[in-house]
Amino acid sequence: MLIRNQELETLSRSDIRQLQLERLQAIVFRCYKNVSFYKKKFDEAKISPDDIQSLDDLKKLPFTTKADLRDSYPYGMFAVPLREIVRIHSSSGATGLPTVVGYTGNDLKNWCDLCARIMYAAGVTRDDVVQIAFDYGIFTGAFGLHQGAERIGASVIPTSVGHTERQVKIIQDYKTTVLACTPSYALTIAEKMSEMGIDPKSLNLKVGLIGAEPWSEAIRGEIETKLSIKAMDNYGLSEILGPGLAGECEARNGLHIQEDHFIVEVIDPETFEVLPVGAEGELVFTTLTKEGFPLLRYRTGDLSRIDDSPCACGRTLARMSRVFHRTDDVIVVRGVNISPSQVEAILRKPDGNLPEYQIIVDTKDANDALEVLVEVSEDLFVDEMRQLRELHLNLEKKVHAALGVKVKVRLVEPRSIPTKDGKVKRVVDLRRGDSQ
């Protein structure tokens, strides 16, 4: 059994709770003292940091949302002066203002350790050659796994994303054993391999660290067959840490959450009520050790359930089920978050009317493809073809510009989009098995 931090990953549940209580009290106090956003929220809710006397008291605290982070753009929620921050990452900002996160020296060290933990759990050792095919840039994915692999002592190849033929050459020539990338890119690489006539079984690849997008068990099977690897899931959000928050062990029975650094809650996204262990709901995380950018009860929008029973691997850290759905209609396509409201903003006519529309996500040619169906009113259809074509091109261009992802727009006749209970389903994600 591969456990990197034998002591902390196998603490008894009561030791975990003790550690969490200590750290929760300290971080709540630090947030109140150093982050004006939290001071204001606490004061409004008439809560004092001293009210946290048990882990159960966590639910007295207000939630933090993505909107709160945007409102404090860029540095409003940092808990230390900027000069103590040694790294800054941020989200893409495709859906409005990006969220900016800062790491102190200790934060980076913890991040590195936690990435090392999940990678070790997935089977990465110092003898491995790890190819990081995530985008190196302002996102957290590549850097997180990069430093985690280095901490383990593996050999890291920072290939970043793209140049697929070169990626394949490197896998073959440099004898890559571990590939880290998104599920869609894993399939792109697999396709390129078969194009180049390379048998994956002839390669040294053994493990895939796949993440940053939701991917079904069917896709997992496809990746594993086509690349001849074991594809392991991990979970993280740039707001909270980046990768390293949770990851699968060899038992592949959920993702172990690093509970010495985070408290997880599952809430009902409608009533905000905390749900009992085992119930499905929205994941809410509280950071326990972060110095630069601590978050209390951050709502992720991701749906999952928690299991805190002992795992076959020996870890006592609770597990979250794999995330396939979100509470809102936000979809992740090629690592970019897309919300229907962005599409709506473009489709809405000057008179305020909104045509019926539907967003369809599918995996085509190993890549996520996005299609938007738009119902066009009858008067438009009888008009000239030229006008129609112009509208079509115009929409496609606008949607592409707004989302940052290539989109196919299809104009359809009125009432041709299927409805359920009189309502059009705004998002159909064929990747997760939605029916059209």
């Binding site: 030791d15 003790q18 550690l19 209580l21 200590e22 750290r23 009290q25 300290a26 106090f29 630090r30 003292k33 940091p49 001293d50 946290i52 006397q53 048990s54 230390v80 002066p81 000069r83 103590e84 102190t104 020296g105 200790n106 060290k109 050790t289 110095e291």
Partner: protein, 244 residues
């Protein structure tokens, strides 16, 4: 070994501890650092039973001790070396040590106690040299060693040290810290309180930083030393570096 959960302690109308939680594992030196009035000594006095928490709990090996008397707590293996030494100054060094075995006078015969005296004198050779001298004639550092040695005579499982380096000559500070480390290496569990954060962090395994009756930070010694706030407030270095 020791688990403290959300203890609140009042001095009259003043709340000295506002919900402090920490834990100490067996064979570990844990330090509590913080400025004057942060609540460090209050914590030790509460653990040893001299003060009663108004709420919260203290568990020693999973059983609650916060409602027991100080004498009962000592018997369970918690020994405190008080701030400012408080040795019996007119008694000889040796007699001070023998008095330290008082809590177990009924269980141990004289030969056992004599053996323990020899043991602690091995740990603190200076005390053997001066065993007949009145304790009040020792230097500050020597008195501190005597105070620690006397606590050990109760055969504690966990030793609470309250500012053992206060008012002690630098050369003796190093000696005392070396001994604390030696005790830990021998399996002793130690809670060390220090205003001298430098000294504390040089021997401890983990630490908690206290501020106005609350824990604001915990971590391994390496993590605390890396924290700029700790550097600024308690180590007095990098002040300019941090705030200019």
């Amino acid at each position: 070994m020791l688990r403290v959960r959300s203890i609140k302690v009042n001095y009259g109308a003043i709340r000295a501890l506002k919900g402090v939680s920490f834990h100490v594992k067996e064979g570990e030196i844990v330090t509590l650092i913080g400025a004057n009035g942060a609540g460090k000594s209050t914590i030790l006095n509460t653990v040893s039973g001299l003060l009663r928490p108004v709420s919260g709990e203290i568990l020693l090996k999973d059983s609650p001790i916060h409602k027991l008397s100080p004498a009962q707590i000592v018997k369970l293996g918690v020994s405190q070396t008080p701030e400012g030494r408080q040795v019996f100054s007119t008694l000889s060094v040796r007699d001070n040590l023998i008095l330290g075995a008082y809590p177990r006078r009924k269980q141990s015969d004289k030969s056992e106690i004599r053996k323990d005296v020899e043991e602690v004198e091995k740990l603190f050779p200076i005390l053997k040299e001066r065993n007949k001298q009145a304790a009040g004639t020792l230097s500050g550092g020597e008195q501190q060693m005597l105070a620690i040695a006397r606590s050990l005579m109760a055969r504690p499982k966990i030793l609470l040290l309250d500012e053992p380096t206060m008012g002690v000559a630098p050369i003796m500070v190093a000696e005392i810290l070396r001994t604390v480390k030696k005790l830990r290496d021998g399996g002793m569990t130690v809670v060390l309180i220090e205003q001298n954060a430098h000294a504390a962090l040089s021997v401890a395994d983990r630490g908690y930083v206290l501020e106005t009756g609350r824990v604001v930070l915990d971590g391994t010694v390496e993590e605390l030393l890396e924290n700029k706030e700790v550097k600024r407030a308690y180590l007095g270095k990098g002040y300019q570096e941090v705030w200019e």
